[in-house]
Amino acid sequence: MMNHTLKNPCKVSPGTIIKGKWHGNQYTIIKELGFGANGVVYLAKGRNGQVALKMSTNGMSITSEVNVLKSFAKVQGTSTLGPSLLDVDDWEVNRSKISFYVMDYLQGIDFLSFIEQKGKSWMPILILQLLNDLANLHDNGWVFGDLKPENLIVTGPPPKIRCIDVGGTTVRGRAIKEFTEFYDRGYWGLGSRKAEPSYDLFAVAMIMINTAYPKRFKKTIGGLKQLTEAICQKPELTKFNKVMIKALQGHYSTAIQMRTELLAKLTQPKQDDRKQPSAVPITKKSNKSVKSSPPLSRQHYRKTKKRKGWMDFFVILALLGALYGFYIFTKLL
């Protein structure tokens, strides 16, 4: 019922002026940016320049998205998670009421087109950025939920990945609000639909698969087997297959774990790929945690950190010594 009537009132033509009932702000529609199950997003001109305006006849979904964006705004340093919220209001037209909210307009290209244009080498880099943002999101008690390339754009330069649709963002521990089958671990029979960090990390691995299969694929036998085969058939993915398979199995409990291991794969010298066995004890070259499990590589990380810590210590000591010497020197004069 709702869905039949949903699309029409929200379809407005360029030039339409949207006036808020409560706050009185006016927005002129420039063009449509996209639409989803819960409404349409437009590029619009507000008093202070271009904005993105999302409207829906389903006031509930608008309100709950606004709640998510508001809670992002409260947390320090989460500005990269989603666009920032500028206004929330209702637009009364033809005796019906359409709820809308206004956010920053993030100008960029969608994730898959960006990789197609700039080359596959960008894929892991953007994924690293995404994992960082997800770690931040998870730390603040949220799970993104409906993570898919359509909800990611790359802004810049410098290229930076941004999440644009918070419609599926769910409080940790609850049931995922919105999902898309291909990126949903429940669909593949690989886990529950509980909002936990590993749910998003599964989707990240599926996004990586998606870059090699732009048209996606259907579930045949399902499960880990089908996905593993899909990874093994594409040389650009095999390099990361260990990390991806661990993510698909839900073995990472934090985004940072996955990020650390992905980064290790990337920085690993190419010729060392196979030759250096795991039996070799940890040497100075910090890059080869090829076979190591997550705790090992973290230890590794701590080691390099410790070494750096000593360096800092000596530099500061020398500096203080010099200053003290100078102080004594001036006193003596």
Partner: protein, 245 residues
């Protein structure tokens, strides 16, 4: 009226009823008992005729629920979406009634300024996560549904996966119509898990008439029988939810 438990009927069909009482009237009867009726119309390559469409929309409208026509491939996504949406709609209805009591008549959530609406929405979200849910699934197994039944099974398993991720309790019951002997046949009694459907569905025979109305009536009576049995076990649970309101 609100017992801290949501009751829904989910009717999955592909066309028009052709025997017995008017299903739209039966849906209205369900609504009177506080049970929401949602309808999903499944198409394959063919389209559902005008008459079937009108009936599907009519049942949902008078049953206070949601209707959706989908292709068989999109069934899983739709079944869970419709159930959730209907659940939220019911909760929102309850919250609106509470608001009316506080703020006076004709005030609903939509009449609040956007800032206040957010706070109310948090309550709606919270309830959607924690409320107990009973879903009675009514599957049309008339001849034309035969090829769609494996997809229906997948969709129902997917539904239980989605709902069981919630904190609240879920109970499912599955009925097929027409049954072997009667208008409707019980496939699965109230259970929190739909996993056992797999074996039942493979044995299911299809064919015959489409007695949607009588099936709905029979299904409703199953809601009425059960609580007396279950209330012995879960009585303290219910009072907890009333407090949390």
């Amino acid at each position: 009226m609100y017992t801290g438990k949501l009751r829904q009927v989910l009717l999955i069909t592909d066309g028009c009823s052709n025997q017995g009482e008017d299903p739209i009237a039966m849906a209205a009867l369900a609504k009177e008992q506080g049970i929401t009726v949602n309808v999903i119309g499944v198409m394959e390559h063919d389209v559902i005729d005008e008459k079937g469409m009108t009936e599907i929309e009519g049942i949902a409208a008078s049953g206070g629920g949601i209707s959706q026509i989908v292709y068989a491939e999109a069934l899983s996504q739709t079944v869970q979406m419709v159930t959730r949406k209907a659940m939220n709609q019911t909760i929102q209805g309850v919250v609106n009634r509470e608001l009316q009591q506080i703020l006076g008549r004709s005030k609903t959530m939509e009449d609040l300024p956007p800032e206040k609406r957010g706070e109310v929405m948090e309550i709606v979200d919270e309830l959607g996560e924690t409320v107990d849910l009973e879903v009675l699934i009514l599957v049309d197994t008339s001849a034309s549904m035969k090829t769609k039944l494996p997809t229906v099974k997948e969709a129902l398993l997917d539904l239980s996966l989605s709902l069981n991720a919630r904190t609240g309790e879920n109970l499912f019951s599955v009925y097929a119509f027409p049954g072997k002997r009667a208008d409707v046949e019980k496939l699965l009694d109230w259970t929190p898990n739909l996993q056992s459907l797999t074996s039942i569905f493979s044995k299911l025979s299809t064919g015959g008439i489409t007695p949607t109305g009588p099936a709905l009536r029979a299904a409703l009576s199953s809601f009425n029988q059960k609580p007396s049995l279950r209330s012995l076990l879960a009585s303290d649970d219910e009072s907890y939810f009333e407090e949390s309101m």
